[in-house]
């Protein structure tokens, strides 16, 4: 089974404020406020860590959810974020030279 890699889209702008992660699409200026799961996914999306590892290491421990269910949910979420062009998805590691800050470093 192929693995899925996720990376933050450099065309999106992100800021974390008081625990809330907000992303603006560079394509159409749409603003997204991420929930806790989506925030973890966004912050972990370095292009080189496979999605199943992100789920196992970061999401499952926090939400006490079955790994299979969590992975399916995370994949759906990643595809949704990719549809809005704020995240990139690939079956191979993603070049992260232009990977933007996760949003809380500014």
């Amino acid at each position: 089974m192929s693995r899925l890699y996720v990376a933050r889209n450099p065309r999106a702008a992100a800021r974390s404020l008081d625990g809330e992660m907000m992303i603006m699409s560079g394509r159409d200026s749409t603003l997204f406020t991420l929930n806790r799961t989506a925030t973890i996914l966004w912050q972990s999306a370095d292009g080189t860590t496979p999605l199943d590892e992100i789920v196992a290491r970061r999401i499952c421990p926090e939400f006490e959810v079955e790994p299979g269910v969590a992975l399916q949910d995370a994949e759906n979420l990643a595809r949704e974020l990719a549809r809005h062009e704020i995240m990139q998805l690939s079956e191979t590691p993603i070049e992260t030279k232009r990977n933007p800050p996760a949003g809380d470093a500014r």
Partner: protein, 285 residues
């Protein structure tokens, strides 16, 4: 009607026997020199931007933006047409049904093709100012603003939220900067709000003065006058919804996005609920 020799107007050159006339319009401390051969259009601008017409000496300022305006006969235009602001290389192209304009930030020079009316150039000026401000951390906001006791207060909200009402209720010791579009620059000592000639329903030009921004209020109308704190995330979202920005440009959109968060981290944002009477101003200033 003022004579062509009024200090704010200058005849700078002869172009094929026709004098080229100029006027400097300074908004937010940024001078924009407008050149045209149409004296009627120039007088129209002088009336439209009264209070914001600056000395022609400012045209020597290195920050001065310059537009040559070519007046064309009026043509049918869709009044609902959206404005398009796109960049090709270093040059901005700004178009709406009633005008076409180009502007190059590198040379600070541009050109506008429009009929003799104040609305087209007004749109171009607003857009060019948003581009300038986006590059320096400032914002044009859909908000009223006023100065009281040397401090500027901003009142943001969508149409119907009460911008015109709160402006109308301002006491005599408050100076109205605008009832519609606030001009905020990020300067060395913080954020400063400037008066603008961009009017809303009040149709009254703001005063051409400036003051440090002390607070931004999100307007809501209700049964009592009160100020409530707003969580930072909500403040940022509300502010983003009230930023005027037209350009289809990822880099500048990201700049504006980060500017909003910077603003929210430095300027207190609260919700101002008010009944439409003058007592609301007891809470302000």
């Amino acid at each position: 009607m003022p004579a062509l020799t009024a200090p704010a107007l200058t005849a700078t050159a002869l172009t094929g026997g026709v004098a080229q006339l100029s006027l400097v319009i300074e908004i937010g401390g940024i001078p924009v020199r407008v050149n045209t051969t149409d004296s009627g259009f120039l007088h129209l601008l002088q009336n439209r931007y009264a209070g914001f017409v600056a000395s022609p000496d400012l045209a020597q300022d290195r920050t001065c933006i310059e537009f040559d305006v070519e007046i064309r006969p009026p043509a049918p235009a869709d009044p609902e047409a959206d404005v398009s602001v796109t960049r090709r290389g270093s040059r901005w192209s700004i178009e709406r049904g009633d005008f076409r304009a180009e502007w190059d930030p590198a040379t600070r020079r541009g050109r506008i093709l429009q009929s003799s009316n104040p609305y087209s150039i007004d749109a171009v000026l607003r857009i060019v100012h948003t581009l300038v401000l986006a590059g320096e951390g400032g914002l044009l906001l859909h908000s009223a603003s006023a100065v009281r006791n040397g401090r500027a207060f901003l009142f943001a909200g969508a149409s119907g939220a009460g911008k015109t009402t709160i402006s109308r209720l301002a006491p005599p010791d408050a100076t109205l900067l605008t009832d519609e579009i606030s001009y905020v620059r990020k300067l060395e000592n913080g954020y400063t709000a400037f008066g603008t000639p961009f009017t809303g329903e009040l149709a009254k030009l703001g005063e051409n003065v400036s003051a440090p921004v002390t607070a931004l209020y999100l307007l809501a109308q209700g049964p009592e006058n009160r100020i409530d704190s707003v969580p930072p995330g909500e403040a940022a979202r509300s502010l983003l919804a009230n930023v005027l920005f037209f350009a289809e440009d990822e880099e500048l959109v990201q700049s504006v996005f980060h500017s909003v968060f910077e603003f929210v981290s430095r300027v207190p944002v609260s919700r101002l609920t008010f009944v439409p009477d003058a007592r609301v101003w007891d809470l302000i200033g």
